[in-house]
Amino acid sequence: MTRDHDVLEPLVRIPGVRAALLVAEDDGLVVSEASMTDVDTAAIAALSSSLWGKLRKTSVASGHRPPQLLQLRADHGALLVAGLERELLGVAVTGDTGNTGLVRLALLALQRDGVR
């Protein structure tokens, strides 16, 4: 288990979290992953980095600095993405009963403390 993987442990321990990943922001590739169920982490990485990139562009166009965290809420779950150091993204996917408040705090802690 790499140290990158260790940083994902607090996320996957939160009830309802189906997958937690570190993703390369530019490439949309999985750098490290910890999934609780059989989920397509490559799809999560590719799609979350693409969504992040579009929101980042919109944010910059509006005269603001890039975003720090996004939460997409849907019928059957949520996707949370946080910008981290080293052009990485912290990503978590929850089921519909997932505690997104705890996931948000864990991602903000990762943002604050770094991945190493």
């Binding site: 993703v23 390369a24 530019d26 490439d27 949309g28 590739l29 490559a42 799809a43 990485a45 590719a46 799609l47 980095s49 693409s50 990139g53």
Partner: protein, 153 residues
């Protein structure tokens, strides 16, 4: 987008739309072009197909030399654009996809949607489709006809 095999058209269109790829070339492992998107000159298609097939073949040989490792996709990342080159197998035989993408998308998206493209092609392959001979007697005529179909000339 232009395709010699009509059943390739819809999955390829979907791939181009979802992945935002700039250029796509689908070919057999012998370099026979099946479909293309984004090329404007037939000469470029011929060169790209030959080079792509050559790279995949030589990588396969290298893998065999190093103990039978079967390499998957190859990625060349440049300053402004990247190239994704991936072999895959259909019932019609071994094929290769060559994708050129820019900053408007990402390798992750290209890779993910290429996986979907391959799944859709596997589903769409007609049962009657058979691999063609690498160098048939009428190879040049066939190549010429293919290029006319691909560029509508």
């Amino acid at each position: 987008m232009r395709a010699i095999e009509p059943w390739v058209g819809q999955p390829l269109n979907r791939f181009v739309e979802e992945s935002a790829a700039r250029v796509v070339l689908l070919m057999t492992s012998s370099g026979q072009v099946i479909a293309q998107h984004g090329f404007t000159r037939s000469l470029d298609v011929m060169s790209a197909a030959a080079l792509g097939a050559g790279i995949v073949a030589s990588t396969g040989e290298l893998g065999a030399l190093l103990g039978g490792e079967n390499f998957g996709a190859l990625v060349h990342q440049g300053q402004d654009q990247g190239v994704y080159l991936a072999p895959f197998t259909l019932s019609a035989g071994p094929w290769i996809g060559l994708v050129v993408y820019g900053a408007e998308t990402s390798l992750g998206l290209v890779q993910f949607f290429f996986g979907q493209l391959v799944s859709e092609l596997v589903e769409a392959t007609p049962t009657t489709a058979r691999p063609k001979a690498v160098l048939a007697d009428d190879f040049e005529d066939e190549l010429d006809a293919s290029l006319r179909a691909l560029f509508g000339e």
